[in-house]
Symmetry: C2
Amino acid sequence: MRKISKAEINDIALGASLLGAGGGGDPYIGRLIALDAIEECGPVTLLSPDEVPDDAFIVPIAMMGTPTVLCEKAINGGEYKALAEMVESYFKKKIFAFMPIEAGGVNSMLPFAAAARLGLPLVDCDGMGRAFPELQMVTFTIGGMSATPMALTDEKGNSCIFNTITNKWTEELARAVTMACGGSVSVSLYTMTGAQMKKYAVRDIVTRSERLGKALRLIKEAGQEDTEAKFLEITEGFKLFKGKIVDVKREVRGAFNFGTVVLEGIAECKGRSAYVEFQNENLSAVVDGKIVATVPDLICLVDSGTYTPVPTDALKYGKRVLVVGLKCFERWRTDEGLKLVGPRYFGIETDYIPIEERCKA
Amino acid sequence: MRKISKAEINDIALGASLLGAGGGGDPYIGRLIALDAIEECGPVTLLSPDEVPDDAFIVPIAMMGTPTVLCEKAINGGEYKALAEMVESYFKKKIFAFMPIEAGGVNSMLPFAAAARLGLPLVDCDGMGRAFPELQMVTFTIGGMSATPMALTDEKGNSCIFNTITNKWTEELARAVTMACGGSVSVSLYTMTGAQMKKYAVRDIVTRSERLGKALRLIKEAGQEDTEAKFLEITEGFKLFKGKIVDVKREVRGAFNFGTVVLEGIAECKGRSAYVEFQNENLSAVVDGKIVATVPDLICLVDSGTYTPVPTDALKYGKRVLVVGLKCFERWRTDEGLKLVGPRYFGIETDYIPIEERCKA
């Protein structure tokens, strides 16, 4: 158990946006929402999973929709209280703690705002260890858990409770309501017991985000030479490419941002080319016509000078980036995991090969 | 209090489909669902509104979506039990009786199926006295009542409970889920007390449907001459036009069937022309360039030989029809009523003039 105050929030947001793998939203807006809530209501108690009783009622909190919409259609701050009341009244149980459902700039932060405002602790875990575009893509689905009953509320005060036959149906119905509400809503889903959380969640993700964020900040602050090796060391990342963005193709389809970013090699990659395909998050990286990484491993683009993560909605012509691959949570590499989030689910015609093997070859 | 068995159902379905004013679905499928439930579970007790205690919990039942979809994507019959359980558990109250929300071939019938299957009575009233395309278009909205908490379930077992800030928002969110579920779902909304029902509902609509249906059947069975005068007498209808359908323009937009049916005069209307615009239901009738009827009055097209109502989704080139106007429920003619369902709401640039005045001129 430890207290998270404003100083830690900055590092957590930065590290979480790297783990967002191109998605999960810009940390700027997410951080502001968390900082504002902590400023007003005080620090948040972060519990390690093992500090949670097995029968505790644990409630994940997230934003659903397009993070870019959140910049213009803000939350009103009352959503978390509304969600908590809906969930407690529906389940007739008191919430013991909140938890995040995914990493990324926005969804790592909103649970802090909820915890601060409701005076509840937050558990140091999530359901992805990264960000993914669809809500059934969590380790809890592998554990046979249901996303529903799921609570949804918008900033105007409209709300729903869903009960669905599969987590894919939850995605369909909740996505439809999210769009009808203007593209961004607050949700609570995969409510669970402490025992389920301990068995299936990705542990210590907040602490990992903070450690990564702090290291990124220190590299940037130190401004030394040869920082790339340092960056790869602290992220345990595989360097996939270094290049300049020469084209970004985007298409909005079914409330997702699909697209491809095309890179022209710079420095030691000069004369070579690469592209990265994305659906909110980066899905695959191809260098000189050869696949070098795919989901569920994390493909992250960072500014080649500052190592600041570049989310897919901030990709711009001329930006110089380092493409780095990180190993995903081990459970994603099982058959059940790959069925949910493997390359073929996203229409990429290749088997999954772990990034460390692809990079060895 | 009286019992409704299979014989009455046929007449009620026929009469209700006339009151559907072109919408509310084909009575064929609605009737089959009701007949099947009564065959299996026995007759339904129909209560007159005054037989309901003021504090009784009254639950409307309806289908939401496109009635044409219902022909291919059938109900499974378990929807009513699911809805009843959701509503009773959410409100922590026992349902006293069901009621229909609108007339029309389908939504007049499904509440009978629900009542038969759950062994509950049905109240002889609804919220429109006709059919309308959007769910906020009920007399209960005039009474300041909320459509929510609203329960929705599909035939697969997915379900939602909505709570919204306005009845227009209920329409937006529930419509989005309806589309995501495949275009047709079962719903329960505007749950109310007996006192509210008695104050705002359109009374005796089932009995009126039955009387109309029986009269239509007798006209058809008798096969006499000069039945048109008889038809107009029993429906208290205003004859607007008699013609052959020469064109049907259709457009599906936002889960509604929009369109125009163009008529060329026959018999005493020979040499004249007319058209009727619709959004699921018929909205306005124009004869020789002059508006002769608009919502909220009922504009009904019936087969000119058999007086069988022709819903908008059954309009076909060459069909000979009589266009008849019926007075709407008086509360629709108030300022509040016209704001909800008057011609301008539907984009028709005219003030509402009651049909009896338009036809006098």
